[in-house]
């Protein structure tokens, strides 16, 4: 279960409370993006799929039976869309009359018996990525570390962080950018070390 998702007012989500829906989006969009990006390997396509998934979640809000159902629904929806996109790309590559051999691996992806396991693995992977982020975060100055934690670990949006810290949106936005840049540089240095 994604951290904090079970703390939300589920009843309010079901009746379309905007604040709760936005919080669900805050909590789901990063893990969903990581999950989908692993399939499609394209930033724009992953962003499209996450947006469409969150939209479908809104459309189906009244049918959700609990926080875990919300999470599962989102992952299954995103996964199916990612597979559809890969299928479409494979068809474009081979043509409608071409060999279906390239689609063989995709058929494996559709195997329902593997789906639950895959979603569990995705959750573990996301938690590992968060742990790595927390470790990298330690190299940041205190203020940037605090903003980065609120944004990426707690999943808060810029407006809420600005309200909480009593600073302007633009300040929070710039702090997030600066923190990301420092962490990205830290990753590059770590990557270089790994290959030396």
């Amino acid at each position: 279960m994604i951290i904090h998702l079970n703390e939300l007012s589920f009843e309010k989500f079901g009746v379309g409370d905007e604040k709760v829906y936005k919080r669900v989006c805050d909590l789901l969009e990063v893990p969903l993006y990581v999950f989908v990006f692993d399939y499609v390997k394209r930033k724009d396509a992953a962003e499209d799929i996450v947006a469409e998934t969150l939209f479908k979640l809104w459309m189906n809000r009244a049918k959700m039976k609990g926080p875990l159902h919300i999470q599962r629904f989102a992952y299954f929806t995103a996964r199916n869309m990612a597979i559809d996109l890969l299928k479409q790309a494979a068809h474009e590559k081979t043509g409608p009359a071409g060999s279906m051999g390239d689609l063989g691996q995709l058929e494996d992806l559709i195997d329902e018996t593997r789906t639950t396991r895959e979603l569990e693995d995705a959750e573990i992977s996301f938690r590992l990525a968060m742990k790595e982020m927390e470790a990298l975060m330690q190299q940041l100055p205190p203020k940037l570390r605090q903003v980065f934690h609120l944004r990426f670990i707690d999943g808060m949006n810029v407006a809420d962080i600005a309200r909480l810290s009593g600073t302007a949106h633009s300040t929070v936005y710039n702090q997030c950018r600066a923190a990301c840049e420092k962490i990205r540089k830290g990753l590059e240095e770590k990557g270089l070390k790994d290959f030396l």
Binding site: V30, A46, E47, A51, R117, I124, L128, K131, E132, A135
Partner: protein, 78 residues
Amino acid sequence: MTNMPNADLPDLIDKYRRQTLTEAEREALQRWLNEHEDNRTYFDKITAPGEIEGMVKAILEMDRGAIRGKLEARRRKL
């Protein structure tokens, strides 16, 4: 698939990566690896050099504003 609560696994794998596992934790991780070949496959994938760093990089580069923009555009059409 596994008898270990999934909440423990990220901790164990993270400690494995940082080489800070205790003997008891190493044994727990080994038991989990021996339980099913899928566990080993996943473990090898996630601990491959650059795998987790790649996920972190993807997170840092994602445009949450673009996602929200696309989401709101869809909702406005309702």
